[in-house]
């Protein structure tokens, strides 16, 4: 489950999932739903694998989203499907998508960066929650 939450100048992304793997995939979906108006228009034709070392879950989420944003900004790749395996010392994520095509993809926000402000990865009785504020 993903949603946006209010931040005066920027945008908050919130994701919830039953386990950590899905939480990271949902957070990535939240990011790209901020970037592109309709993620349904993004064809999952190319696969990219991203490996990130580290044990701190919040920094792992931060680095994962940062890596995806870099591929969009530098290489114009849009993603719409994600699978993530979070381990004790890092994560391995796969993202499927395609090159941005202005004729088919209506863009939403320019996400400048993922910020550390208010970054949260938490487990509760209901499952996992992630919050991240992105700079618009």
């Amino acid at each position: 489950m993903i949603e946006f939450f209010e931040h005066t100048a920027d945008l908050g992304l919130r994701a919830r999932a039953a386990d950590l793997d899905d939480l990271f995939a949902e957070a990535a979906r939240a990011l790209f739903s901020a970037v592109v108006e309709d993620m349904g228009t993004v064809v999952a034709s190319q696969r990219m694998v991203i490996r990130i070392p580290g044990a701190d879950k919040e920094f792992l989420l931060f680095d994962w989203l940062k890596a995806l944003l870099y591929h969009f900004d530098a290489e114009h790749l849009l993603f719409s499907r994600f699978e993530v395996k979070v381990g004790a010392d890092g994560l391995e994520g796969a993202a499927w998508g395609e090159l941005m095509d202005p004729a088919r993809h209506e863009m939403n926000h320019e996400v400048k960066a993922i910020t550390l402000h208010g970054l949260k990865v938490e487990q509760s009785a209901e499952g996992w929650l992630a919050e991240v504020i992105v700079d618009i």
Partner: protein, 487 residues
Amino acid sequence: MDKESFRGSLEQVDATCWRIPKSYKPGMRVDGLIFTNERMLPQLLKDQAPEQVANAAFLPGIQHASLAMPDIHWGYGFCIGGVCATDPEEGGVISPGGVGYDVNCGVRLVRSNLRYNDVKPQLRPLVEALFRTVPAGVGRSGHYKFDKKELAHLLGEGPRYLRDRDLATQSDLEYTEAEGRLVGADPECVSDHALNRGAEQCGTLGSGNHFMEVQVVDEVFDEKTAAVFGLEKDMVCVMIHSGSRGLGYQVCDDALLSLRDAPRKYGIELPDRQLACAPVDSPEGKKYIAAMRAAANFAWCNRQLLMQQAREVFATVFGRSWQELQMNLVYDVCHNIAKFEEHTIGGKLKKVWVHRKGATRAFPPGHPEVPALYRKVGQPVLIPGDMGRASWVLAGMQGSMDKTFGTTCHGAGRAMSRTASLKHAAGRHIDKELEALGIIARSQSKKGLAEEQPAAYKNVDDVVEVVHEAGLSRKVARMRPIGVIKG
């Protein structure tokens, strides 16, 4: 972290200044001082921006106070509108969060010899031509391509390099803050990731609150100073608001990564990870400063190329060269930057790192860094407002040196979140509403105009009133928009 109101202590100092005492939070090294007035105070308390003013007061080596301008609003780490100065001699730090992701985001103003009545009949074709020509919006590449070697020149030299390629004039350099070049920039300190993000983005507007506007001088408040800046009532100008694009964002990202261990390594305790910092003289600090300066130079190149494109469009639409149209640069200011400047603090002359995060330098008359032609009246300060009401040209005042490390406000400041703006715009046609006001606005994204609608911002006139009354900068001219290009 949802939006919460600030419930901490605020003490009124005078008609335009409120204090968060050092005692508010253990760890604050100095007071927080917020420039505002009675009228704007309730808005200020609606979110966590004052808490962020208090948090910045934790920075080692901070001098005098953690400051905020009247356009203050909730940011990440620092508030937007935040200013602080750190002294390297006293363990002062440099903080990428105190600059922001968009290094040297800033504003430039170009004047012309056209009057409103000359432009009015051509306004729609002019705005359409600007919209077609100037790359704006998410993922749009620019018309100018630079290879890695050329990028290194842009990063090291700023628009000077463009002058050598006939894309800038000597006068353009003279009327740019720091002449468009921060000395000490080291392209070697800018990562390949940053270069990859920036390679195609020089000369692109971006999205969010960035814009290019055709404006008219609506009212002149200080005839003498306006004349020195080459401005007069009814004159058509172009205002450009953009920054260092993906290159600058990546420079900040890279610095945050290198500073991840800095709190432990240097024993710095901070209430927010986004305030990450390192001593100015540390390897991490030095590297960030060299890269940040390079990104600032790149941002000046970006605004220079945006201006060139506007000049060319005007030339095509009006059938005269931009030189004939006298489209000369009035000034270019940065409002996300850290600079090493001399200031008198507690009666002592010190060299400090002034962090301006959504705040503009406003040097007073007589300051050596103000261009010779403007030196008697003070530095021009450009304050973009919203697309329906106004923007301002101010001039720096001595009060800024006395109170705010030579700084004033940077804009209107958001009053509504983006999600709230969308709800507020539901069922309305912002473009038609603006058209009824005589403003043609075009945006690359459907939501762009809704999120950036005038009501999303504080009234810039209120913000300017505070800095004028506080003696930080004075009113010179009010500009009203007639054409708007958004990403």
